[in-house]
C-alpha cells in the first residue's frame, strides 16, 4: 500500500482529495487528509458577514461531508514535515509516512506581527474580517455604530484575496447609505501598494470606483505600529492616519508547521516551482493554494485551476515520469462593487486583468473589469457552485489555462 498524504482540508486539499479518490486504485493507494479543525468555511463568504448579508452558519459545513468515503481523515494539528524520512509528525507526536505529499495548509492572519495591533482593543475598536470570530464581532459592532472614521488598513503583501479590502469598502459604502448615515462615515483605505491594486489597468479602474464612492486612499503606507491611546496607525516613516474604527488586514503567513519544518520563506510560504507546483528541490512534495510563494493571487479560483495541473503532474509522477503540466498563474475573481453590482477580473502570471467579456457557455458572458448585475449574481451563485461542484472536483466549463478570448488589449 502506498500513501498519498494531503495536509490541509480547505479548498485546495478537498478538491485534490476528491480528484485523487476517484483516480487512484483503492488497493494500491491510501489517501489521507489531515486538518486541525472540523469546520470547512466558504471563505469568500466572510466578507458578507459584517454587513449581515450572510450569517456564519450559511458558510460553514463539516469537512468530512466534502471528502469521499474512502478518504482517511485525521483530525489533528501538524507538528512538522520531515522530507528526508518522508514522514509527517502530527501534533501528538505520531508519525505518518508518505510516498507522495501534498501541502495545502493555507494562510492565516497574524495581527501579533504589528506592534500594538493584537493586544489592547482588538475586537473592540480594531477588527479583522478574515476569521469567523473577527467577521462576526465586526458585524455586531457595525450594527450599533453611529459613524466616524473607518480605516481599512492592509499591513503587508501578500494577502489572501487582494481585492477583498476594496470589496469591504464598497459594501460598507452601500451598508451605511442604506442605514441613512453615509454622510457621518468617513471611509479610508490605507495600503502599502502604490494604488488600489497591483496591476496598472485594474488599479486605474478600481481607483476610479473608490473616488466615485467617496473613499479616500492613502497609498505607500507601510504600517509599523498602532497607537491605541491616540487611535492612530503609524508608518515606519512616522506618517500617521487616525481612526475611530480600524478594520485591519493583518500580515498573512503560512502555517507555523511549515516554519518548524524549515520548508518556508520568511512568511512560512513554501518556495514552489511556479509551473509544476513541486516544492523547490523536492520531486515528491507538491504545494497548492495559499500555502505557496507563487506570484499570483491567494484565492480559491487559483487553487481550483492549480488542482487541474497538479492532478496531471501527480499522475505522471506516480507512474515514474517527470511532471510536465504547467500552471500559468491563472486567477479569476468576482469583485463586489456594492448596490447589487460586481466586476470580474481574469488574469495570469503574464497578463494583467483586462477589460472585455468573459465567455462562459450557458451562463455568460460576464463583463470583464466593468460593473454589471450579472457579475454580482455570478458572485452570489458561486457559493452553491463551491459546495456542489468545485469542492467535489467536478469538471467545470472553465479551463485551467487563461484564455485571451473576449479580452481587449490596452493601447
Amino acid at each position: 500500500m502506498r500513501d498519498m498524504l494531503i495536509l490541509g482540508g480547505g479548498t485546495a486539499g478537498t478538491i485534490m482529495a476528491n480528484k485523487l479518490a476517484s483516480a487512484l486504485d483503492e488497493h494500491e493507494w491510501r489517501v489521507t487528509v489531515v486538518d486541525g479543525t472540523e469546520g470547512h468555511y466558504y471563505q469568500p463568504g466572510f466578507l458578507f458577514v459584517p454587513f449581515g448579508i450572510y450569517r456564519m452558519r450559511d458558510i460553514v459545513k463539516p469537512r468530512r461531508q466534502y471528502l469521499p468515503g474512502r478518504i482517511n481523515f485525521i483530525l489533528s494539528g501538524i507538528d512538522r514535515i520531515d522530507v528526508e524520512k518522508k514522514t509527517v509528525q502530527l501534533a501528538n507526536g505520531e508519525p505518518l509516512r508518505y510516498d507522495c505529499l501534498i501541502i495545502a495548509t493555507g494562510t492565516d492572519i497574524h495581527p501579533e506581527q504589528i506592534e500594538g495591533l493584537a493586544d489592547e482593543e482588538w475586537g473592540q475598536s480594531k477588527f479583522d474580517f478574515y476569521t469567523p470570530t473577527g467577521a462576526e464581532k465586526l458585524g455586531q459592532f457595525l450594527k450599533g455604530w453611529q459613524g466616524g472614521k473607518l480605516v481599512v488598513s492592509i499591513a503587508e503583501m501578500p494577502i489572501k484575496c487582494p481585492v477583498a479590502p476594496l470589496e469591504f469598502l464598497f459594501l460598507a459604502d452601500e451598508y451605511f447609505t442604506r442605514r441613512g448615515i453615509r454622510d457621518k462615515v468617513d471611509l479610508h483605505l490605507v495600503t502599502p501598494l502604490s494604488g488600489a491594486f497591483t496591476k496598472p489597468t485594474c488599479n486605474r479602474v478600481l481607483g476610479d470606483f473608490l473616488v466615485r464612492k467617496g473613499i479616500t486612499v492613502t497609498p505607500d503606507f507601510d504600517i509599523a505600529r498602532v497607537d491605541n491611546q491616540e487611535k492612530k496607525i503609524v508608518a515606519w516613516d512616522e506618517t500617521e492616519v487616525s481612526y475611530d474604527l480600524l478594520v485591519s488586514v493583518p500580515t498573512n503567513m503560512g502555517d507555523p508547521c511549515i516554519g518548524r519544518s524549515g520548508l518556508g520563506n520568511e512568511l512560512n510560504f513554501v518556495p514552489t516551482n511556479k509551473q509544476t507546483l513541486q516544492a523547490d528541490g523536492l520531486e515528491d512534495v507538491f504545494v497548492l493554494g495559499d500555502a505557496t510563494n507563487l506570484p499570483t493571487s491567494k484565492a480559491g479560483s487559483v487553487a481550483h485551476f492549480q488542482s487541474e495541473i497538479l492532478f496531471e503532474n501527480i499522475m505522471e509522477h506516480i507512474e515514474g515520469r517527470p511532471a510536465t503540466a504547467h500552471f500559468d498563474g491563472h486567477a479569476n475573481c468576482f469583485i463586489e462593487s456594492g448596490f447589487g453590482k460586481g466586476l470580474l477580473i481574469d488574469f495570469n502570471y503574464e497578463t494583467e486583468p483586462l477589460p472585455g467579456e468573459f465567455p462562459l457557455p450557458g451562463i455568460g458572458p460576464f463583463k470583464l473589469l466593468g460593473e454589471s448585475r450579472i457579475n454580482h449574481y455570478g458572485k452570489m451563485m458561486f457559493r452553491w457552485v463551491y459546495w456542489n461542484l468545485l469542492l467535489r472536483g467536478v469538471k467545470m466549463p472553465m479551463k485551467a489555462e487563461m484564455s485571451m478570448a473576449g479580452k481587449r488589449m490596452q493601447a
Partner: protein, 105 residues
C-alpha cells in the same frame, strides 16, 4: 519606460522604471539611480543593503521583501526606512539594478 542615458550609453528601462538589463548595472550607475531618486550619497550601510539584495536575486531570482531584508541583512526595519525612505524594498531594488520585487500580487 523611456530609456535613460548614462556615461554615453543608452540604458533600457522596464515598465516600472527599473533596469531592463541587469548587465548595465555598475557602482557608478547605482549612485546615479540613487541621486535621481533623491538619495544624495550611498553610505556603507546603503551598500550593505544593495549588495545583499543582489546576492539574494542571484540565488532566488527575486529581490527580497522588507521582512526578509530585516531578518537576514543585519539592518533593522527602522534603519531600512531611514536609508531608503518610502518603501525600502522597491527603492533598493531599483538602485541595485533589479526588477521590482514580485512579492505583492
Amino acid at each position: 519606460m523611456a530609456p535613460m542615458s548614462f556615461a554615453g550609453k543608452t540604458i533600457e528601462l522596464d515598465a516600472d522604471g527599473n533596469l531592463a538589463n541587469r548587465g548595465d548595472w555598475s557602482d557608478d550607475l547605482a549612485r546615479e539611480l540613487a541621486a535621481q531618486d533623491g538619495i544624495a550619497e550611498l553610505t556603507p550601510q546603503h551598500w550593505a543593503v544593495i549588495n545583499f539584495m543582489r546576492t539574494v536575486f542571484e540565488k532566488d531570482g527575486d529581490a527580497p521583501s522588507i521582512r526578509r531584508l530585516t531578518k537576514e541583512s543585519g539592518v533593522d526595519t527602522k534603519m531600512l526606512y531611514a536609508l531608503f525612505p518610502k518603501g525600502p524594498a522597491k527603492r533598493a531594488a531599483k538602485i541595485a539594478g533589479l526588477p521590482k520585487p514580485k512579492g505583492c500580487i
